[in-house]
């Protein structure tokens, strides 16, 4: 078979026998610069193909660990953001409902323990808060004023949450404290049958207090115009 000796530029890249990583050849053995270049290529090939190399394994392991860390951090952020993502779109879509579950009565209702969680309902006669088997009602005619506000609540709070935060080493509890969610606050001022002044405070999920207030106003509750107090610092951010 006759073969014509071709210059390097003439040889196509995909031609058989034009392997740039070929090791044997007289030219490479003779020229030290070429030999060095080839050695470098061999090293890079070994790294890419995963040929046994301790450095490569280390790099791969650290990359795998980094990937795991990124996934874990992402999961934590997703889990913490999930409730707020779930709440925000619900506000404009839902019409003002007459019953709001998971409402916390902070203080101010007769026969209801401060801090009780229950259902707040808007009835034609007024508003009613139900928790367990206890009920408290405020008639529309007795309502003197209704206020709404917005506050921020920590995702991890209470005695248990505080203990968990304290138990995380290296001050990690402070990182947990960074996660919070917005809530609406509804304050209702009313008078009892003797004319005694009362005030009830409810904490609702974000975006529900204004609709509830509007519903009460539509039913005939008195509302005065008032100056908005400055919002707490974290709400400005």
């Amino acid at each position: 078979m006759r073969t014509r000796k071709r210059s390097k530029s003439e040889i196509p890249a995909d031609a058989p026998g034009s392997d740039p990583f070929r090791l044997n050849g007289r030219a490479s053995e003779s020229n030290p610069i070429r030999r060095k270049n080839k050695e470098m290529r061999i090293r890079s090939v070994q790294t890419i193909l995963g040929v046994s190399s301790t450095q490569g394994e280390l790099v791969r392991q650290s990359l795998r660990l980094a990937r795991l860390l990124v996934i874990c951090v992402g999961l934590v952020f997703t889990a913490s953001a999930a409730p707020s993502f779930g709440q925000q779109p619900a506000t404009p879509q839902n019409p003002p409902s007459s019953t709001i579950p998971d409402v916390k009565c902070v203080i101010g209702l007769e026969n209801i323990k401060p801090g009780a969680t229950g259902t707040l309902a808007s009835l034609p006669t007024g508003l009613e808060f139900t928790t367990g088997n206890k009920k408290a009602a405020i008639t529309i005619s007795s309502i003197q004023d209704v206020f709404t506000g917005r506050e921020s609540r920590q995702d991890v709070s209470g005695m248990g949450g505080t203990l968990v935060e304290a138990a995380i080493p290296y001050g990690g509890g402070r990182f947990v404290s960074l996660f919070s969610h917005k809530v609406d606050v509804l304050a209702v001022e009313y008078v009892d049958s003797d004319g005694g002044f009362h005030g009830a405070i409810f904490v609702l999920s974000a975006g529900k207090a204004t609709a509830f207030k509007n519903q009460l106003v539509a039913q005939g509750a008195k509302v005065s115009t008032h100056v908005e107090a400055p919002e707490p610092k974290e709400q400005k951010q």
Binding site: R174, A187, G195, F197
Partner: protein, 182 residues
Amino acid sequence: MKPLSRCPILSIFWFGVGGAALLIGASLLAQPCAAGNPEPAAPQTQKLTASAVQLERILPPQDLLIPEDTRVSMYENVILQLIKTKKFQHVYRSGDRTAADAPDLVVLHLIPEAFKPGSQKEREVITIAGATSIKVKVQFTSREDKVLLEKDVVGKVRFYGENMRATYDLAKKVAALVNESF
């Protein structure tokens, strides 16, 4: 391993002893003088007596902005704490018509003087920042508006708890004042 030197331990010990001695000395100096050394007698606080108390609505001055929920929470917490003191047979709310029949009624006014809105997040993350505080002038008056007792009280939440917890702290302090004065 090289054992720990005793020098730092000893120096820390003597530093602690010196600090304790200074504290004891300062507290002894701060105490009122003994009977042998005559000193102008402090004005003795006369105990007030009343069978009923009426808490008036909290109306902040126009130049002071307080969130409405804080104002309402302050009122309700003070009512609860006044009942808990058991110093009065009746605790009347503002506007209660039945209070007119009470024989010796004192009226409690809470006049907000200052309000600093804090941040729960700041408190829990930075610890030294984000405190919420409310300063209120507590005024006990007779039915005829004669001032019987007046004192400034500050409600605070410094480390853990929601902003509204400052109102609970304030109410506890008002109750302590009632226990002292009645």
